[in-house]
Each structure stands twice: as C-alpha cells, then as structure tokens.
Amino acid sequence: MAAINRDDVAHLARLAHIEMSAQELDRMAGELAVIVDSVKSVSQAAGDDVPATSHPIPLNNVFREDVVGHTFTAEQALSGAPDSDDNRFKVPAILDEA
C-alpha cells in the first residue's frame, strides 16, 4: 500500500464530515503514514503460504434463532439524539452526496 498522503487525509476528512485545518492535515498525514507503515510490518512476517484472515480464531456459523427480543421505546431510542421531532431523529438537510 502506498503511503498515506495529505490529499488522502483531506478526502477521508471530507467523507467523515470532519473539519480539519491545514496544520491538522499535515500532522495527521504524517501520523497515519507511520501507523500504516507499522501495520505493514505484519505482512513482512506473513509469507505467501499464510492465507489472509479476518478472524484470529477458527470459528464459524455463530447464529441466533429468529426469535424477537427486547426493543427500546421511541423515547429511549431518542434519548441520546441531539435533536428529534415526531419520534424521529432530526438531522440537518442532507445534500445528495451519499
């Protein structure tokens, strides 16, 4: 993987709706590049004979029966919401971007 550059960070910040100053972008680009390099060292340890994995323990087929469990009331669901209206979460106007 190529090192993370400033443009990558700016792009991700935009996607994540995080406002970042020029200095922050510079600093973050540097820090993320170090993190990515550190993670990269793992691939030096694993040879071609080691398959990629998403889970460290060999476990599969963990299922739940299709039985209804607990739910929140609308009041509970909305208790942590910054804003709500008509029992629904109220969010700022969304431009057609997602």
Binding site: S54, V62, R64, D66, T71, N87, D96, A98
Partner: protein, 502 residues
Amino acid sequence: MNTDAILSFEEAMEKYDPVLGFEVHVELNTKTKMFSSAPNVFGDEPNTNVNEVDLGMPGVLPVVNKAAIESSIKIGLALNCKIAESCRFARKNYFYPDTPKNFQTSQYDEPIAYDGYLDIELSDGTVFRVEIERAHMEEDAGKLTHMGGATGRIQGADFSLVDYNRAGVPLVEIVTKPIEGAGSRAPELAKAYVAAVREIVKNLGVSDARMERGNVRCDANVSLRPHGRERFGIRSETKNVNSLRAVEHAVRYEIQRHAAVLDSGEPVVQETRHWHEDTRTTTSGRAKSDADDYRYFPEPDLVPVVPSREWVEELRATLPEPPAARRKRLQADWGYSDLEFRDVVNAGVMDEIEETIAAGASASVARKWWMGEIVGRAKNADVDPGQLGVRPATIVELARMVEEGKINNKMASEVLDGVLAGEGTPAEIVDKRGLAVVSDDGPLLEAIDAALAAQPDVADKIRGGKVQAIGAIVGGVMKATRGQADAGRVRELILEKLGVTV
C-alpha cells in the same frame, strides 16, 4: 424540472444496442432483523422496532439471524446459483444518516450465492436467459423523510427525519451479469425479470414481496452501444424503481435519453439517476466518481458463514415447485391453448383461476369468468384483477345458476356487478333485482307469437328450412322479455311452433 432531450424509442433502437443490468433488493420476512433480535415489522410507530444494535451504539455486537441465512440460501438455489462453501460479511463504509453505524453490513468479495441464471418468459412466449452474477446478504437502512423545501424531495430539504425501524432488516441483493441481446424488448425484459424475481421470492415464502412497501426494489442499469460494437457504453443506474410498470418505463426512458446524448456527440455521464413516477422521467443524482470509495473490509464482529453441503441439500429439498414449472403443469391440467394460457398469465389471474377451479368450477368456466368478465372490470377500475375482491365461491355459484338455467349469462354478469357493489351474495341479488330466467312457457309463447307476427318473412324462411334465420326471432323475444328469457328454450319453442325439426 427535467429538460433532458430524448430520441424516439424506435430511432434509439435503430442506432443503438441496449445492455441492461439489475440489482434487485429483496427484504426478507423473518421475524427479527439480520443482526439483532428487534422485530422486522412494517408500518409500526417510528423508532420502536429498534435496540442498541440497530442504533449502532458503541460496543454492541451483531449476531446473525439463522432464518435469514436459510432464506438467502433458498433464494440462491431458486436462482440456480452455487452456494458458497464459506462466505463473510463486510463493512461498506459511508456517511449518511440512514445508517447510524456509518457503515452497512453487507457482503463484498464472498457472496453467499453466485453464478446462477433465470429463464424469463416474455409475453409472446420467447424465453430469455438472464445470468445471475451473485446474490449477497446485507441489511436495510433506516428511512429518511426530507422535510421543508419546495418538493419534499431531497434537493432543497431543510432537514430530515430518520426512523430506524427498517435499519437492520435482512436484505438479499440479487445482481445480474450484463444482459445483452434484448434489443427492442429490453424494457419488456426488464419488467419480466423483476416480476420473475418477485414471483420466486414470494413463492419461496421468504419475502412478502410487496413492491409498494419496498419489499422488492430495483436499481436498473442501462447503457447503449452502436450496433456491432462489443465494448459496452457508459451506464447510468436508475435507483429505486418500485413498481413493475416503472421498471419498464424507466428502462425505456433511459434508452431514449442515452440515445439522445450519444447522438449529440457527448459521452453519457456515469451516474445515479432518480426515477420520477409522476413525469415518467429520470433526473441526475450524484456522479459515481466515489463508487469505489466504500472502503470495504471484512466485518470483524461476525465470523464466517460456512453452510455445510448437507444443510444446503436439506434446504433444496424444501423448495416449492418453481413458478415456471408450475405454469407448465397448470396449463396441462386445465387444457388451455398456449395463447389462452399466456393471456391468463399476462392478465395476472393465474392464481385466481387456480383458486376458482379448486372451489369447484371447471377450467373453462373459470377462464370465461376471469378473462371475460373480471379482467375488463379491473382495467376500468385501474386495479389488479385480484384486488376487485371476487371470491372463487361467487364464481362457482354464478356458474351453477347459469348451468341450472336460473339465470342466463347476461344476468350473471349483472349479478357480478351487484356482488362487486356489495349488494350481497349472488342468490340475494337475483332475488332483490328480480333476475330470473322466464321459464314459464306462457309468457314466452306470447312473445314468440308477437315476434313471428312482426317478421313474417323470417318466419317463412325458417319454415322453408333456413333455420339459421331463427336468430332474428330469438332476438325479438329476448328484447321483449328484456333479456330474461332462456335463449335455448326460446329457440326450441319457435321451432316447435313452426313445426320445424332440426
């Protein structure tokens, strides 16, 4: 307002060859959600079918719904797919308030089902094979309602309200390979394909399959290329086309729009289009430049799904008769000609006819009533024939009254109107409206005498052996009795009266 230029469909077809592709989302009708035990129910009060998993609270862990896996495997099998030996979930990352987690749990490089096909029968009986690329599992998103603004649409909204009841509802997304060679039948094929998928999931019992509720949603990809060129053109993706008719219209419209763009020498923009049912046009959504920016990665909170071959075969054994095979069987059972049967299928009354026959009507009587009487009434009312609410027992009763000579066909049709108007059962309506075939010969003989006297030349012809002229006399009698006479009996009496034996 939409100002896109379009070519006529015929001209577009002369110049270009359409290539289609579909992503159909099917909402499963499990009792609970894909990864949480909150109920999967449509139409409840907002934000009441949610728990901490659906709301994406910190530290929560999803657990896969076994019934949803089984339904997904069944869909894969019904689409003639291979079922993965092992597959994983993946996070599809995006920031939008319809998912409180900032990602949708989906499948990426390891779908549960892949490499299938579906044979689609067009209205004239032509069979067209649509190749299925994959069917993968994912979760539905919450429902946004855009408030304020001029149109209620997303553009110009002041704020949005979010209901997460739908967040986490199990979905299976069925993706086709590019569909080539449909030519001018592309719009029809589009509709028939989505109809076939809907029919299959309904038949499997894994989805309520109601398009008006969003249980089955279609994204339609369309591109054009000049005839003879192999390379595909640039495609547009029209989102959430949510009725069968709209699928056909949207594909047709996009073909016409692309053709006009290409004719002007411009490239088609690869983008999402929004379908508008009111104007039957599409408008530009976002450009697809960020299409590959979902930063998929394996979902660390869910372990792989490894369906054993035994499990897959167990599920295969539970599959109902496929709709296409069922149609073949019913046509043979009922003895309808290809044309008759196709008309029945196209009119959407196959299930109704089956129920009517099961209730005791003959195959020909059931067809006569549904195709001859009810389909036309449904068309006038602009509803599906099944929605008129005609019960099989009603048709059986009407047919029996006709057979027994109590009423004739014309009256039976009138009685049906009465039933539909909520006036009661057929027997009650016959009573109330005084509809009964006049079977007492007395009044009939009087009417026959009058009719013969009125047309002495016709009477002579019949006496002379031209029995086919009898229609004029029968008609006169029917008119005089206001349609209440039994035409067969009238005919007998006329011949008797004139001393003609046939």
